[in-house]
């Protein structure tokens, strides 16, 4: 695949040109934070932030999305008949998605794109999008991607990978979609593939790690019954920040909204941290305590997902939940506790 040079002097002009063929998204400063947004005319992506506060998952999985619509007006022939809200996504491209976030989208795809059922909304947004990643030469202290199945130059889920070379970017096409974007942008000056060397350097800067090697050997019920969950969950506020900012969390709710005689059915992000997520109408709640909900989050990410798909853990090591949890609950510690858990010890302790 092609490796080309993008002169930063031309960057603004080239992106403006691309906007004729693509709806562009990129990180943009907003108040004190950086968020992924549509790049309107004249707007450039801001590559200075390593990890945006919210992950870019909303580009393919909006926080709130209309899925069906209907009319309750009984004078209409089609009243009370639900119809699909059609999504005609134009070609879109995300600039500056980090490799961990791109990998997370390929993990989430396992949920929305299955043999029996396909989520048409997620998939149409996904298929319309070209992912242009930006490699991380200066990872943060909370990044543990290299032990979470990806890395600062990881290519999975990306169509193009960019690396910053000071006065220019080098762009490597990784898929046909990526080739098309590079061609459309007019980036034609080919250069050598220097990614290998830079990748090594970047990876060596990652100091934070999780241990996952033993997770697959442990039994679900042993881990579920482990003695450390009360301790881990003790300080949790069940605020849901961790699931909200996480690129790999996908749980959602479905709700109807009516205005006058017309209505729509929407799906909204939800969180396993909330008691309402699982409460039955009878009042019985299978995960009624905070400990049960915290356990669910970590067990899903670090054990159930791994057992179900055999594609590693459902965490890409972006560090968002670690940085933003108000009470410093740290998935790295939990992962290591789980990985090194010895069910024999629990039995001994009980005796």
């Amino acid at each position: 695949m092609k490796v080309v040079i993008i002169d930063k002097g031309q960057w603004a002009e080239d992106l403006e040109g691309l906007k004729k063929s693509y709806q562009l998204f990129g990180p943009v400063g907003e108040k004190d934070y950086t968020v992924f947004k549509t790049l309107e005319k004249g707007m450039l992506p801001d590559f200075s932030t390593l990890n945006t506060r919210l992950s870019p998952k909303s580009i393919v999985f909006p926080q709130s999305e209309d899925i069906l619509e209907f009319s309750l007006d009984e004078t209409r022939e089609d009243h009370h008949i639900m119809k699909e809200v059609k999504k005609d996504h134009p070609s879109r491209a995300v600039f500056g998605i980090r490799p961990c976030d791109a990998k997370s989208i390929s993990l989430v795809k396992l949920n929305f794109d299955t043999a029996e059922y396909k989520d048409p909304y997620w998939l149409s947004a996904y298929e319309a999008t070209t992912f242009v990643g930006l490699a991380c030469d200066n990872p943060a202290s909370t990044c543990f991607c290299t032990t979470a199945g990806c890395g600062p130059y990881h290519e999975e889920g990306l169509d193009v990978l960019l690396t910053d070379e000071g006065d220019h970017f080098v762009a490597k096409a990784l898929t046909d979609k990526g080739e098309t974007l590079i061609k459309t942008a007019g980036w034609a000056t080919e250069t050598e593939d220097t990614f290998k060397l830079k990748k090594k350097t970047a990876e060596s800067k990652i100091t934070s790690a999780v241990e996952t090697g033993n997770l697959e050997n442990l039994e679900i019920l042993d881990l579920h019954g482990a003695t450390f969950w009360d301790d881990i969950s003790f300080a949790c506020l069940n605020c849901g920040t961790c699931t909200y900012v996480c690129p790999t969390c996908w749980c959602f709710d479905i709700q109807d909204e009516v205005h006058g005689k017309s209505g729509k059915r929407m799906r909204n992000w939800d969180s396993c941290m909330f008691p309402l997520f699982t409460i039955h109408t009878t009042g019985h709640n299978p995960r009624g305590t905070k400990m049960q909900r915290v356990r669910q989050r970590f067990m899903h990410k670090l054990k159930y997902f791994l057992d179900k798909y055999n594609q590693g853990i459902m965490c890409v090591g972006c560090g968002r939940c670690v940085r933003q949890c108000p009470v410093n609950i740290d998935i790295r510690r939990v992962c290591n506790l789980m990985n090194s858990y010895k069910p024999e010890d629990a039995c001994a302790a009980q005796e």
């Binding site: 899925i67 008949i81 059922y117 479905i254 396993c272 067990m299 054990k303």
Partner: protein, 280 residues
Amino acid sequence: MQNPYLPYPVRVDDIEVATEDKSLKTFKFVFLNDGDEKKFAYKAGQFAELSIPGVGEIPIGIASSPVEKGFVMFTVFRAGVVTTHLHNMKTGNIMGIRGPLGNWYPWDMLEGKNILIVGGGFAFTTLRSSIVYMLDPANRSKFGNIDVVYGARTPGMLLYKDELIEWEKRDDINMHLTIDAPAEGWNYNVGFTPPITEEKAPKGDENTYAIVCGPPIMIKFTLPVLEKLGYSNDHIIMSLENRMKCGFGMCGRCGIGKELVCKDGPVFTLDQVNQTPKEY
């Protein structure tokens, strides 16, 4: 591929009060569009999302049987928002049905076997579907003995009473109906479901499977009875319930460990249930 969120439009064709306390109603729906009934092809044990535009959706077991054509039937307990709206519906109203969803009782495996059905309260819906399926002339010879233990508080709380009485009269199905306390005109068993099961149900063996549905308290006391009768955990089949939204394994809410009740279930053997965290 079909949009799994999009319900088939249906018309409410018939509504019947199902129990004397009026807390349950049985609904028959007819598909509005030609061809949808065929696409909705289901097996006994599956469920569907009943979808009221503007109100919401609820997972309900399919009470009609695959051998009954021209309609689909559900029996619904009035519990909260959506079920109350449903109870207030009139025949002729238009709404939606999404499905069929979930797995079903393992009919292929059950062929040639004796079947014991134990049901309690209003959890008799997919059991009715199963019995009607097995008793169909085209299917009856595929199964050995069929025993049914079904209990309710009073005679008036038994679902599908006319059919139960019909089945009582047949000699190719052994009915063991029971109510909690004696009542006038009641000629069948009296007592809770678990002791009646212990008394009347056939012994468990390699060729006999039990399908059990009921309120948690009934399940709790019935399982030890089945064990005593010699049913092994992989010969006891149950149907679980959890709060649901999507019904096809994507929204993440109904999980018990790595299994999703909506997609990997709702039907599990006791053996399988014992290998998952008790989060239902």
